[in-house]
């Protein structure tokens, strides 16, 4: 028996061409295709696998977002999740702590064995809602999990760090955030898509607080400048490294 919650987010598709809205502070959503955040797909898949392994249990998906996020939840239901909850708000807060508080309130008394997140959302790169929720709920947390083993109420996770792989032990219940490599998400099957239409999806209106982070501007990054030939032969390497460090700032 595994009771698993997966928190997911509706995000602009990774191929989205970014256009700034008239307010100069947000994405112009005209023509933008939205999708389930790819890292959350790993989380949903992991939830399904853990439940399948346990034999019984439940996978509930929870999203905070606009009414249209019901579609995103249906995607997860089509993959095999059992039910969905939409915390419906006009906007997703810029301040991750506001999001975390709303999710934590929803998750609080759920009796979950595992609460799963993607390690980050590909729109805001905020990288924090999972561990914030864990702290608010007082649960152990491992982030950016790329490999996972669970025996009973003990888990061993592996996460990529600079120059190696960190091996982390933790007790259940726990909050985990999923990285690429954790699994290969399944394709929603036809029957899953049909079944998803009939699965319960509860919509609960919420009012996110204003938060302490205020967007001043969203801008496009400066254009790529012309490339240059640094030099010829091994003698040019020192200058190349200098440029990569000081100009391009990638080393």
């Amino acid at each position: 028996m595994m009771k698993i919650a997966v928190c997911i987010k509706r995000v602009p598709d990774s191929e989205t061409r970014v256009k700034i809205a008239a307010d100069g502070k947000s994405l112009d959503e005209a023509g933008v295709k939205f999708a389930l955040n790819p890292y959350d797909e790993f989380a949903v898949e992991e939830g399904l696998r853990r439940k399948e392994k346990a034999g019984t249990g439940e996978v509930a998906v929870i999203a905070l977002g606009p009414a249209a996020a019901q579609e995103t939840i249906r995607t997860a239901l089509a993959m095999g999740a059992d039910r969905g909850v939409l915390l419906q708000a006009d906007r997703i807060p810029v301040d991750g702590f506001e999001t975390a508080q709303l999710l934590a309130a929803e998750l609080k008394d759920g009796g979950w064995d595992l609460i799963l997140f993607g390690k980050m959302a590909i729109d805001d790169y905020n990288h924090q809602v999972g561990p914030l929720v864990a702290e608010l709920l007082g649960l152990p947390c491992v982030t950016a999990v790329a490999h996972l083993e669970i025996e009973g109420t003990r888990g061993v996770a592996e996460r990529e760090v600079e120059g190696g792989i960190e091996v982390v032990e933790f007790p259940l219940p726990a909050v985990l955030t999923a990285d690429k490599g954790l699994n290969e998400p399944r394709y929603p099957a036809l029957k899953g898509i049909m079944a998803a239409k009939k699965k319960p999806l509860e919509v609960k209106p919420v009012q996110p607080g204003a938060g302490a982070i205020e967007v001043l501007a969203l801008t496009l990054p400066p254009e790529r400048k012309e490339g240059k030939i640094v030099g010829e032969g091994a003698g040019a390497v020192a200058e190349l490294v200098r440029l990569l460090r000081e100009e391009a700032k990638v080393l």
Binding site: S14, E135, C141, A212, L218, G231, R245, V250
Partner: protein, 325 residues
Amino acid sequence: MTTVLAVLEQRDGALRKISHEVVTGARRLADALGSASVEAVVCAAGPVGNAAGVGSFGADKIVTLTNASFGKYAPEGYAQAIAERAKNGGYRAVVFPASATGKDLAPRVAAKLGVAVAADITDVAVDGGAIVVTRPVYAGKALLKAKVAAQPAVLSLRPNVFTPVERPKAGTAETVAVNVPPGRVVVREIKAAPAGTLDVAEAQIIISGGRGLKEPANFKVIEELAKAFGGRAAVGASRAVVDAGWRAHADQVGQTGKTVSPTLYIAVGISGAIQHLAGMRTSKVIVAINKDKDAPIFKVADYGVVGDLFEIVPKLTDEIRKLHG
């Protein structure tokens, strides 16, 4: 007095280089706030070798928080120790590196302080007393500028952006033993990443080889260079060499569909057939090394070096090793 707290990183009792970036960023913020001081803090099991050195990058004070469990990263212990210090110290801001550990630790600390993290920032300024950060969003396709009103402001700095700047300060050192309960989440070990596990689609750095390598065995010069980046680099290959059976399909960059966009892409001995360019042109910085100065790859490269790759690449490997040593 206004103080900015800079959270440093150590591994095996030695300060990680990224700590210098954090101190540099914290110093920049402190200066912008107007003669604020920077206090650096690091969690460790005992004294940290070169900790006092951060004084030269602008830290007024270096505090080592020690606990027997702090040898390796202890997520809960570190978070508690730093959050307690942050709460009691009345800091204006707490600055983390957005490293693998920093990304894990910063939100834990932020939650204990009741605020969010302004994560992965590439710039920080002060405007009318308010802290203003810039951070890339939408996979770097846009930059978000935001005011952080949280008290304290918790920031994490994108690695490789805040180039360390020497700003000698006194750098007085202090060691404080802290008490924390045993953590539930325990780091057992850091394993070496098995070679070749890094997927080209995910890697921050990709070194790709093409037909210019002449034969499959010569790919070792590419592998050596990738290794010099300490596990952050993946080895890629052009379609031509994959088709020739020199490398596995999984290594192939440059077919529509598998667009890679690493921070740094180094194309070695790749002429730049259209298929390849399509796959890597969204990389942030592109370096091309090729003997043919008219190769199309140079048209998309930010930096090109013309010449014999068998001379250039080993030299580059040496230089990178020196940087990451």
